[in-house]
């Protein structure tokens, strides 16, 4: 590729903020060489925001680390170079490297809590940067630190300076990290999943902050994330990474509206679009799973999972073709020209990246738009699901408090709700809102302090231990973490067998086990495996099969898919929908991802600070009039809709502690529509916006509607 190099430099004299050329990175583990990045080439112009998307394990973070010359000790750069502002990073001396880091490039990390030194005051950590890069005195540095904290809009910077990381909320911590990164105005800012793990509203704050900062600092941004919405919102250009290869690249808007690589298309199709429901369309899953590191790949890295793969794709890997232009036809031409002479591909065909052109690593970019839909519409209407009027589950005035030393935390306060057969009740809310506690009270993993759980007319005993085997069989649970949901010591079959033994209703145990595994699409050969040999998706499928071992009436799903990659998540959601259609089971579905909840739920409940503040049909809850908090939540979701002009509602302050919830309306401390004293003093009434749609607020429905109508709901984009 040395031929390419002069061309690039000749094309534009202004050196790119980041210029990665044919980068090959290999990790060495247990004597094996595992290529992670295979000839990645990308270029970020000064001040440009570049999004790098892809599922976990495709090499995003490795790329970032290589760019900062901070590969793990077992990782090596085998080929290619990384130039930052024209300087080859690998050539920097240690001292130069040290100064370069922080001054030229800076990074914001995924987990802010872990990224901050636990035993050092915030002030010192931020001040460090000034002391060691600008040689300021401690006092001077602290003054500057204070400024930069103010710059990231941290409340009461002076106090914050004196705090320790654990004393700050996740959002504040991330602000501190950003403040540190921007302290000495780097020219390149690397954001590695900056909002993953943060709550929706906090995520929104951080995004607002980053956008707002971009206006002032002129750093180029490399945003690494699996969240397409984020990229759509922040970045001009985006590169899609798959198995260590850039498979498509181009302007964000075009890529997301008109993808030219099957993988990109797959990604777009498998996330539920904002406002989309299971009855509208099925999520298009990507067949198969990501190739494991070091797994040998024939031809196109994606061919194994590509629904439109042709023999040629397996025979020979396509280059990164420009689109439009030679992409389609040339791809075809080459596909026809069999067997392809390697000589036939002179370097200049592989258009150098960087210019505003689009590129896709596919012979058949032209056909991507017509990529076949594999999964049919699955969900039938509630009625078709035989949803009876009678409630399967009724929860009345449920209260549960925990003690933390002397403090008393109310995790669930006076929650009442009901659920019909075959219905899916979605439960949304930020972390700490009490979703999971509520769910565990239902299943009996936690005993409520007061309140009742009635199931099919019979009141349930508080704890699972004291419930009848039938009650247990009827109410099962699917947990969040695929890695701990299955007993690592048991073979998959043993796990299912045991479940069937305890919960099943007679008949051949093995037959039932085989049926279950077939229902959740786990091939029999995996049944002899231990969970450690299964992929996250498979584990979660087995977990679901386990829950269905006794043909339950109600399954509580606690974030069943949020730990999984989007493509896998889609298949899990589809599976749940399918099972529901076949088994008439009811779900309580917990998730912090509103789009997902909206997609899978028939009715939705919104929780805030242990209270259920709004309940209604999915449709109603997602559209005005709705609780101001719901409104804020919705506004905070980044969407792929470029036409989306909703003004984002920034909530004030941070989530109050459960130990001393605010008086009156619990939301008043952060509410953007607060009416003043009344909200502070009086507990809001439950108002009915529509039959079956209620919310807790002082503002009557019509006023809310008026106020909220201005911001029209986001319309789903058809791919």
């Amino acid at each position: 590729m040395s031929v390419v190099e002069p061309q690039v430099d000749s094309r534009d004299p202004a050196p790119a903020a980041l210029d990665v050329r044919d980068l090959e990175v290999t990790f060495h583990r247990r004597g094996r060489d595992l290529p992670v990045l295979k000839g990645v080439t990308l270029r970020i112009a000064p001040g440009e925001a570049y999004g790098l998307v892809g599922e976990s394990g495709c090499g995003k973070t490795t790329l970032a680390m290589a760019a900062l010359r901070y590969l793990a000790s077992n990782g090596t750069v085998d080929a290619g170079q990384v130039l930052v502002e024209g300087r080859d990073v690998s050539t920097l001396s240690d001292e130069a490297l040290r100064k370069w880091r922080g001054e030229a490039v800076a990074m914001v990390y995924q987990d802010p809590a872990a990224a901050l030194s636990p035993a050092m005051r915030i002030g010192d950590q931020v001040a460090e940067v000034f002391r060691y890069h600008e040689g300021l005195s401690k006092a001077e540095a602290l003054k500057r630190a204070r400024e930069s904290l103010r710059r990231v809009a941290l409340p009461d910077p002076d106090a914050t300076l004196r705090r320790y990381p654990f004393e700050l909320s996740g959002g504040q911590q991330q602000r501190v990290v950003i403040a540190m990164a921007l302290a000495v105005n780097p020219r390149l800012l690397v954001l590695d999943e900056p909002t993953t793990g943060l709550d929706a509203t906090v995520e929104a704050e951080i995004l607002d902050l980053i956008e707002e900062l971009r206006g002032r600092i002129h750093a180029a941004i490399l945003l690494i994330t699996h969240n397409l919405g984020l990229v759509a919102r922040l970045c001009e250009r985006v590169g899609v990474l798959y198995a260590g290869r850039v498979v498509e690249e181009g302007p964000a808007r075009e890529i997301f509206t008109d993808p030219r690589h099957p993988y990109t298309m797959g990604l777009l199709r498998c996330v539920p679009r904002f406002g989309m429901n299971k009855t509208d369309a099925a999520l298009q899953t990507i067949p198969g799973t990501l190739p494991a590191l070091g797994e040998p790949l024939e031809g196109c890295v994606y061919s194994a999972r590509c629904p439109m793969a042709k023999p040629v794709c397996i025979r020979r890997e396509p280059d990164l073709y420009a689109w439009p232009g030679d992409g389609g036809p040339r791809g075809r031409a080459e596909a026809e020209a069999m067997p392809p002479e390697p000589a036939a591909f002179s370097p200049h065909h592989a258009n150098p990246v960087g210019e505003a052109a689009r590129h896709a690593r596919c012979y058949f970019s032209a056909e991507v738009a017509q990529m076949p839909h594999l999964t049919p519409v699955l969900a039938t209407s509630l009625e078709a699901r035989g949803a009876t009027a009678g409630a399967v589950l009724e929860i009345d005035d449920l209260v549960r408090t925990f003690r933390d030393g002397r403090r008393k935390l109310t995790a669930v306060s006076d929650v009442s709700l009901n659920l019909r057969r075959g219905e899916t009740f979605g439960l949304v809310g930020e972390s700490g809102s009490g979703k999971t506690t509520l769910a565990k009270c239902v299943t009996g993993l936690i005993a409520p302090d007061s309140g009742t759980v009635t199931f099919e007319g019979k009141r349930l005993r508080a704890t699972a231990g004291r419930r009848s085997q039938d009650a247990l069989r009827a109410i099962q649970m699917v947990f969040q973490n695929p890695d701990s949901t299955l007993n690592p010591a048991w073979s998959t079959r043993a796990i299912l067998t045991r479940a069937v033994r305890k919960l099943g209703s007679g008949g051949s145990v093995r037959a039932k086990v085989d049926k279950l595994s077939a229902d959740v699409r786990v091939e029999p050969r995996f049944l002899i495996q231990k969970p450690s040999d299964l992929s996250g998706g498979q584990k979660q499928r087995i977990a679901i099969a386990r829950a269905f071992a006794g043909d339950p009436t109600l399954v509580v799903c606690d974030e069943p898919a949020s730990a999984l990659d989007v493509s896998v998540q889609a298949s899990i959601l589809n599976l749940l929908v399918e099972l529901q259609t076949n088994e008439q089971v009811s779900y309580v579905f917990i998730s912090h991802d509103l789009a997902v909840v909206r997609y899978i739920s028939d009715r939705i409940g919104v929780m805030y600070l242990a209270e259920l503040i709004e309940v209604g049909s999915a449709e109603e809850v997602f559209n005005p009039p709705h609780h101001p908090y719901t409104e804020a939540l919705l506004s905070s979701i980044p969407t792929l809709d470029f036409g989306d002009r909703r003004e984002r509602i920034a909530l004030r302050g941070t989530m109050p502690s459960l130990s001393e919830p605010p008086s009156g309306c619990r939301f008043h401390t952060r509410c953007h529509r607060t009416l003043g004293d009344i909200c502070v003093e009086q507990e809001p009434p439950v108002q009915e916006a529509a039959p079956g749609h209620t919310y807790k607020c002082h503002i009557p429905p019509h006023e809310l509607l008026a106020a909220q109508a201005t911001a029209e709901p986001a319309a789903p984009i058809k791919a």
Binding site: R101, A106, A114, A119, H133, F166
Partner: protein, 315 residues
Amino acid sequence: MARLIGRRLLLMVPTLILVSILVFALAEVLPGNLGRFILGPYATQSAVDQLNHNLGMDKPIYTRYVEWAGHFVTGHWGTSYQYTTSVFPLVMRALGNSLLLAGFALVIIVPTSILVGVYAGLRRDSILDRAITISSLSMTVIPEFVSGVILIVVFAVTLHWLPVQAMPPQGSPFIDRFYYLILPAIPLMLLELGYIARMARVGTVQVLNMPYVRTAVLKGLPRRRVIFGHVLRNALVPTVTVIGSQIGWLIGGLVVVETLFNYPGIGNYMVNAALNHDLPLLEACVLVVAVLYMLSNLIADIVVAFLNPRIRMGG
């Protein structure tokens, strides 16, 4: 911080009571017949019964415990059967000697072992690291009496560099004591050094893999700042805890070393008391050691709290 210490001290009380019950149970209940234990296998039963009566053995256990514990709290530790003198001053003098020895050993061990360990951790997988790890392991496992015996022969008898006995002659200046303590201290050091060093190494290695160290590096901080500012402080937390708990083994070592060097420390007295059925002395020694041990753990906790703001503020 003060509140934390106060809380910990309070927490010590129940444990202390339990420990005393334990010692009481072990010493006065377990053998079933204290009189027999004191008088030995050849005493006539009547004599044994008489003694038991005098010792109040026929009283109910709890009253006996209360009296016993009461005496300890009020410093009436009884009279040693062997030396026919009051136990309290005896034990206190011994304790002083032991503390001097142990302290002397620790003062040298702690910094060196931490230094060595951290260094190994920073130079992970280097030849030096390997050497340190292996040698520290082997040091840890050689019993004190083995190393002690060999040291004596080499340094005291053959080379005449150091005195064999651990006590300087009467009337020599206090400072001399340290010179005499060098030889006894070494076996203790070997034992602990290896262990603490390993801990320090592990701690360092772990911290080096922490994201916040990456942050520090990518902030462009100089290496030494990264190490002293970010790595060390956090790496030492487990080490300190270990040092606290290692005191137990150190005391175990004291018993051996003091016997070996005929050093009038609490370990030596304890062994003699045990060998000679001198129960009051034995009980006193064990209790004192227990308290000592708990205090050392307390100190460790406090240091940890100092290193870790979260605990400090939580406390």
